[in-house]
Symmetry: C2
Subunit: 334 residues, 2 copies
């Protein structure tokens, strides 16, 4: 049986060029004891993957040049030499960026029995959802009544963060760009603020209008002007959960940080970076709280779906150009 | 009786000009019930006072134009209409920047009975010492064996922070400028690193040489290149206690922040601003721990002393030019 997978031909500088991603076909070896073979149905592309393309160990190992790339994926087991998994199981695993994955069974998890579409486990009930929940609850210690600000608020992580904060009874402001994203945020009970055609000072003023009582919690996905604007509006004791800074991921030169970082002292504020995998022991708690709300439609989510394995690099690159609303996914035909 | 005090004639932009500080003489009114009159012996000047010269409420009220400036001071009660205080008491209070203070007794504290020079309560056993202790223990959660970095390490706060960390069994690196400051740090068992003639990258390399196992705790007094260099050396789970950012206090234009703030995510690090007054309930604990060590000479401190009330503005301004080793004080003649 053959597998088709993407490799990197080199580590990019700046925004990766499309031709760095090479589609390769290989014949799979016999299935070894303890392995499973999976036909992927859904592939995830996520901003954090840019960090694995730098050739430098950050909090995950870099992708190896010429080796299959990796990422979250949902597929169907088509062969198994592991007692725990059987043909026909629908599973979640890290063998993405390919059509057929063959890998040790220990990193492969059958989907829970909850009435949601299977690809939800790559988004609202998967890593991005868990990231929103962790950043809001564990890192930013969000409480009912807090004034909450979320950047990239219509993205996979941000759109759950705003809804979880609303469900807690918070006043929530969401930063986004395109009009249809702002409209979606408004429909979720979020005060939408556009970053477009605004410098950091103007963005700060717009946040102030949307949240006249300041900001207690900032869920940071973007960095750059969003961070500077947020810092200008902090209340005393504010907490900033730093999930990511997508603004800087493709910068060819290091970009200057916010000019008002001293606000951390003035406001006695905390700013903390986190990686969701460190908090995965909370996943059952997260699932118990969030899954029923997703199943009942109380928590909404959106997907931006590209079709076919060949669209995976474009789907990934679109993340850096605001090309997604909600979770960006690649759907593979059976 | 007359009092001589300093007032601000205007709010400065950038480094305050000397002639913004005006010495005024006034006749004091009769002592009211509940008031005390104090002949000051020692005045404190501290970097945070620059923040009170901005005309903007930060975490303390701004100085009022034309009104007596304020600051920590040690003096002798020369008249009292409060039952708690009597003539001859040596007291700590906020009526600095003047020779004779007359003020309500409630903010006036007699010095504890510990065998240390009275001016120690403006430095190592006062606000700066308590700041070092709080930042290290409460905010940065410093543990034995941590690799600790302190900027402005030979200053009033930094020089206690490095010694407290050494006493915990930490590996400690201290950033300073002048050779005699670096030599003092070395004599305290601290790895000294000079910031002079180094950009942020070079300073990061120097810190790496001095602390090859990275940085777990950074005690931040400076900002600017020191912060960028520190961020480049963080270990996973590092904690940054942000006490101040003296680099920016006199900036006429906002200065850009560190270009590598995303390291907070990469290293899952926490950066937290704090104001020592919020933690003053720990003062007895601090005093119990630190005072005996100061009395026994186990904790060293230095003072830079200017003579006479008229030297107070210069003493203050010298803080921003590296003009002090240890605590900057003004000594008043009796």
């Amino acid at each position: 049986m053959q597998t088709r997978f993407y490799t990197l031909t080199d580590y990019p500088k700046g925004l990766p060029k499309r031709d760095l991603f090479k589609l390769t076909t290989q014949t799979l070896p016999e299935l070894a004891e303890g392995e499973v073979r999976i036909r992927n149905r859904w592939l995830s592309v996520d901003p954090y993957m840019r960090g694995r393309m730098s050739g430098i160990r950050t909090y995950v190992e870099p992708f190896e040049i010429g080796k299959p790339m990796e990422g979250g994926a949902i597929g169907e087991v088509i062969a198994s030499r592991d007692a725990r998994l059987k043909e026909g199981d629908i599973v979640n695993h890290m063998g993405g960026w390919r059509d057929i994955a063959q890998l040790p069974a220990e990193g492969v998890t059958p989907l829970p029995d909850i009435d949601v579409p299977e690809q939800a486990y790559l988004g609202v009930l998967g890593m991005p959802g868990m990231t929103a929940w962790t950043g809001l609850n564990v890192i930013a210690e969000c409480k009912p009544g807090d004034n909450v600000l979320v950047s990239a608020a219509s993205g996979a992580v941000g759109s759950l963060a705003v809804q979880l904060a609303r469900a807690k009874g918070c006043h929530v402001v969401g930063i986004a760009g395109a009009a249809h994203k702002l409209a979606w945020l408004e429909s979720l009970g979020v005060e939408p603020v556009s970053y477009r055609n605004r410098d950091a000072d103007e963005l700060g003023d717009a946040i102030h209008l949307a949240s006249p009582n300041g900001i207690d919690v900032y869920f940071e996905n973007v960095g750059g002007d969003c961070l500077e604007a947020a810092l200008s509006q902090l209340n005393e004791g504010a907490r900033i959960a730093v999930c990511g800074m997508i603004d800087s991921y493709n910068a060819e030169q290091p970009t200057p940080g916010p000019r008002n970082l001293v606000q951390l002292v003035m406001r006695k504020a905390k700013m903390q970076g986190f990686i969701v995998t460190d908090h995965w022991d909370h996943y059952p708690e997260f699932l118990k709280e969030v899954a029923p709300q997703v199943a009942e439609g109380k928590l909404t989510y959106k997907e931006t779906v590209k079709e076919g394995l060949e669209s995976t690099p474009d789907a990934f690159l679109a993340l850096f150009e605001g090309g997604n609303i909600g979770k960006m996914l690649v759907k593979l035909s059976p």
